[in-house]
Point group: C2
Chain length 227, copies 2
DNA sequence: GGACTTGTCTACCAAGCGGTAGAGAGTCAT
DNA sequence: ATGACTCTCTACCGCTTGGTAGACAAGTCC
């Protein structure tokens, strides 16, 4: 996705102020949100441009004005979702230093994001299904965080706080646990019903936390000495 | 797979061979296998009847002869996948009595099935995404096993072999862990490459086994809170 | 006020979709 | 040999899809 700033600078602010009722950057954002929702719910191939457009009250050609192709729309969704997740994670991590605090903060913030934005996990799953080329747009926004996480885990392993293992693969395992349990929670909601889903989600979060803990604790037998 | 290789020339002879060899029940099975592969890879909406048909060397209308609608084809795939998984599980369970032996056998057979039939996990994931109505066809084939598993877990809890908990929810957790790690392994393969994927799959199996063990172990340090 | 930009629209199109109609070739029982 | 049955095909249809072309209104700039 292009940056928030359009080429001309001085004129743009005035124009934006005049048009901010509907048109411009705001509409772009609304379209992306709706597209993420539908891509997650119906899948990429199962979502027509018409469906996205009419869901926000415009014609298909208005959507095509902002995103020249369906693929461009998808890329914009990938970047937007990645950035939003990245922001949530950064917020959650700020001020936390202890190893386990940070791990738990990451998990909790993802679950909280999933609770206030239920379409997000389904979209991420669909993003993963669409192949590496598309997925990379999503992952790109998270890459700085990924690097920081790997370095952080490495240091924690050196300090003996967590079990020695491949940090990248550990991250992948955590990703699997969180996304997996979230997306299957969506299935659970479809089966059980919306009322019970919130409680189940919290329950799943606790399960994931327990799982991660068991993955991090150093040495099965020497675990008692960890803290 | 099967040597059916219909050449553009000699159409009549090819038809002759195809009739006696693959016609009828056999062709039906081949079509279902291919449909499962494509539904898993491209998604239900992303797979055209033409793609399935021409992938097995017949015209779309031949497919529609066996399955009158696309939905009927999907249902047949659901049932077939469910039954195949059910058979694999029954085989794995036969002759095993000890609690942990049975649990491990279930996990191992699912992973083995995923290894020799890589399209299967992706299809199951897509099946879950298509909503409860479609998913039920898949689950129906597994329902007897599910019942048996719940009864078995209940007895094991009574005997104090595993931690007391809701058996249905425990089963759901196991399902999540296995399917989640399998489908994300598909993503891993797409990213890392096919050569490393087999080793990673075995690694993931070990992780899942460890996870399940921690979920089953009664009391004590099941989810060690050592903060 | 005229050139230009931005945003939204109607009208349209070629391609692909799921599905129908029905013919033809081979097989089998009578 | 005939008629019923099985399997595969060609031909076609109506609908939806992603995408193009261009008119038009409102605002901005000089």
């Amino acid at each position: 996705m292009g940056g928030l700033a359009i080429a001309p600078s001085a004129r743009t602010t005035a124009r934006l102020a005049a048009m901010s009722r509907t048109g411009g950057e705001r509409r772009r954002k609304v379209l992306i949100d709706e597209a993420i929702r539908l891509f997650g719910k119906e899948g990429y191939n199962g979502t027509s441009l018409d469906a996205v457009a009419s869901a926000v009250g415009v014609r298909k050609q208005t959507l095509l004005y902002y995103f020249p192709t369906k693929d461009a729309l998808l890329e914009a969704c990938m970047s937007a979702a990645g950035e939003r997740l990245a922001h949530a994670l950064e917020d959650a991590l700020s001020g936390k230093d202890a190893t386990w605090d940070r791990a738990e903060a990451v998990i909790h913030s993802v679950f909280a994001l999933a609770q206030q934005w239920p379409e997000f996990p389904a979209f991420v799953r669909e993003a993963g299904r669409l192949g590496p080329d598309a997925f990379q747009r999503f992952a790109a926004a998270l890459d700085p965080l990924r690097r920081r996480a790997i370095a952080f885990l490495d240091r924690a392993m050196d300090a003996g706080e967590i079990r020695r293992q491949d940090p990248a693969l550990l991250l992948f395992t955590l990703y699997t646990a969180v996304v997996g349990s979230l997306t299957e929670a969506s299935v659970l909601r479809a089966v059980v019903g919306a009322d019970k889903s919130r409680a189940s989600l919290r329950r799943r979060e606790r399960e994931v936390v327990a799982f991660v803990r068991s993955a991090l604790v150093p040495g099965e037998d020497a675990s008692r000495a960890s803290r």
